[in-house]
């Protein structure tokens, strides 16, 4: 178990900057997710931590030791690849014991540990099969078993669930978190699936194009995105143009076409002055619709008409037109849904508004 730290790490492949000046700390025993769209540099960060790639500049620390010059096989990390990378010519037992063999573990102890690892991933008794004889989900667990059996100081997971079908993925999501809690290993998990990230992590690091956009707990990142990118990447969000009309110690007052003047106390408030243009994020499911005017609970209130309705089973997605502006609203279906062209009142609570950098 160890903490992992990146200090000003940059990785360039020719002209492509896969990672730019990343300063990230992964706390000891924590479950941290690297979240971002394809090609944003998540895998590159994992590969640098594991030693498969060396940083162009900057330092990587595992525990308190700088590991830039330490070769892969001496770093004692467990890495699970997106496609599992099980050895097809070796049995499951040989696959799992592989790392132990190179740690000169005794034969009898080796068998014991392989057995334990298979129990941890809840697949006992498959020792003598070959990887090709297992299903995707089972292979995924074997890959995990192979990584944890060496008792690594850090567990690195590169989109380990992406090859599974939806049901299995949710099952494995729960199981993976449970295993991580049980063994308490520092875990870095890579995904581009926001719901996976929100469900599993202690902390989320949102990345875009080689840059760290935001670091925080799932709640922080989801409720108070600090950039438009983060707001859009995690779920559906409305981003409204506005202007600061007043600023105080607790937040600012923003004037907007739809909602008039309303207070905002979340997000990137540093150094905002009256007259500054800003953007305000409102999550689609935090915008409330009603046929009667909203009461005092809403910090921002406005009016509009329903432009389109999109049924999605449990929820409905409405598109509300208000002047030049279109709002996206996700609502649970209760009694009678709103109809197209119906006039509605729109309201958002103060805690659900957040200012992002333009």
């Amino acid at each position: 178990m160890a903490r992992v730290e990146l200090r000003g790490v940059t990785k360039a492949f020719g002209l492509v900057r896969a990672v730019q000046k990343a300063d990230i700390t992964f706390e000891e025993g924590s479950f941290t997710t690297l979240l971002g769209p394809s090609g944003c540099g998540k895998t590159t960060i994992l590969r640098m931590i594991s030693g498969l790639e060396s940083p162009t500049s900057g330092d990587i620390l595992i525990g308190d030791q700088r590991v830039n010059e330490i070769p892969i096989h001496k770093r004692n990390l467990g890495l699970v690849f997106q496609n599992y990378a099980l050895f097809p010519h070796k049995t499951i037992a040989e696959n799992i014991a592989f790392g132990l063999k190179y740690r000169s573990v005794e034969k009898s102890e080796m068998q014991e540990r392989v057995k334990n690892a298979l129990e941890v991933v809840r697949l006992p008794g498959v020792e003598d099969r070959y990887p090709a004889q297992l299903s995707g989900g089972q292979q995924q667990r074997i890959a995990l078993a192979r990584a944890i059996v060496i008792e690594p100081s850090v567990l690195l997971l590169d989109e380990p669930l992406s090859a599974l079908d939806a049901n299995l993925r949710e099952e494995m999501r729960v199981e993976l978190t449970a295993i991580q809690h049980r063994i308490g290993v520092t875990t870095i998990f890579v995904t581009h699936d926001q719901s996976e990230a929100l469900a599993m992590s202690d902390r989320i690091i949102v990345m875009s194009a080689g840059n760290v956009e935001q670091v925080g707990t799932p709640r922080e990142v989801y409720n108070a995105p600090r950039s438009e990118f983060v707001a859009n990447f995690l779920g559906a969000a409305n981003i409204l143009q506005g202007e600061v009309v007043d600023s105080g110690p607790d937040g600012v007052a923003v004037d907007n076409e739809v909602f008039g003047t309303f207070p905002v106390s979340n997000g990137d408030l540093d150094g905002l002055r009256p007259g500054d243009p800003v953007r305000v994020v409102m999550r689609a499911e935090k915008v409330k619709l009603s046929r009667a005017p909203h009461g005092d609970g809403m910090a921002a209130a406005g009016q509009g008409s329903v432009e389109a309705v999109d049924y999605q089973g449990q929820v409905v997605r409405y598109f509300i037109r208000s002047g030049e502006c279109q709002l996206q609203v996700i609502d649970m279906i209760e009694d009678r849904p709103f109809a197209v062209d119906e006039q509605v009142f729109v309201g958002v609570r103060g805690v659900d508004c957040s200012i992002v950098r333009s």
Partner: protein, 260 residues
């Protein structure tokens, strides 16, 4: 093929005059004459040497081509196939210009003053081996390349993170998984070498012959077709045995793969 077999029992009376018969003199000659035994032994030895050298020399470029991140990989493969456009005989003859007494190497050595007299390098067993390697190496490389390409790129890194040095990772993962391609390449090179006669004819000295040359002599020089048929059939049987032994061990799938 049965025609060859039948012919091997005919009797050769004079140059190009055969009598239909059923007699074993040709086969008896093959089994008793030391000359033929020596030829078989020499052919096997030569084939094994060439195959082993080709396996080692071919693995390295195959590995390089398969692992390179170079974007224009097809170019490297094209370079490999390019020599096939030139006649095999011309490629073999070209060694005379390199290794011969008036060849490039002797030219350079003499020009540098390292040797006074040209060093005799042509018409030895070594030149024959070089000639074989030159023409058969691409088959070996392509076969190994195909099976290396089929290996998941993440396996070696996975082995590395589990504690292997680069060499250990290669030995544990890449080498065993490329055995089918290596085997197919070896089989091809072995069979091609054992059955060839042109290379020793051009590059070998007067004493350098393989079994194929005996067939050639019997048929073209002595016009003894029945003996030629006997020798051909014997070679066919021998190589057939090798192929059967191989397919028993590895299965022939990889061969199809390499050719399709």
């Amino acid at each position: 093929m049965s025609f060859i077999l039948v012919y091997s029992f005919y009797e050769n009376v004079d140059l190009a005059v055969d009598v239909a018969a059923f007699q074993f003199s040709n086969w008896r000659e093959l089994f008793t004459d030391d000359y033929y035994h020596y030829a078989i032994w020499k052919t096997l030895r030569m084939s094994i040497i060439v195959t082993a050298l080709a396996a080692v020399l071919g693995y390295i470029p195959a590995y390089f081509i398969a692992m390179t991140r170079f974007r224009h990989k097809w170019l490297l493969l094209l370079l490999l196939i390019l020599p096939f456009w030139v006649s095999f005989i011309i490629r073999t003859l070209s060694w005379i210009h390199i290794l011969g007494n008036q060849g490039a190497i002797n030219g350079v050595l003499q020009w540098l003053g390292i040797v006074e007299e040209p060093v005799a390098m042509m018409f030895t067993e070594l030149t024959v081996i070089i000639g074989f390697l030159h023409v058969f190496l691409p088959y070996m490389i392509l076969n190994i390349y195909v099976s290396l390409e089929g290996i998941d790129r993440n396996l070696e890194p996975a082995a590395r993170t589990l504690g292997c040095t680069p060499w250990q990772a290669f030995r544990e993962v890449t080498l065993p998984l490329s055995i089918p391609g290596l085997g197919a390449g070896c089989l091809l090179v072995f069979v091609l070498t054992a059955g060839s006669y042109v290379t020793p004819l051009i590059l070998g000295g007067p004493d350098d012959f393989l079994f194929g040359n005996l067939i050639y002599d019997a048929i073209i020089s002595e016009l003894n077709w029945p003996m030629g048929a006997t020798l051909s059939f014997a070679l066919l049987l021998l190589l057939g045995l090798v192929v059967v032994a191989y397919s028993r061990m590895m299965g022939l799938n990889q061969l199809y793969k390499a050719f399709s």
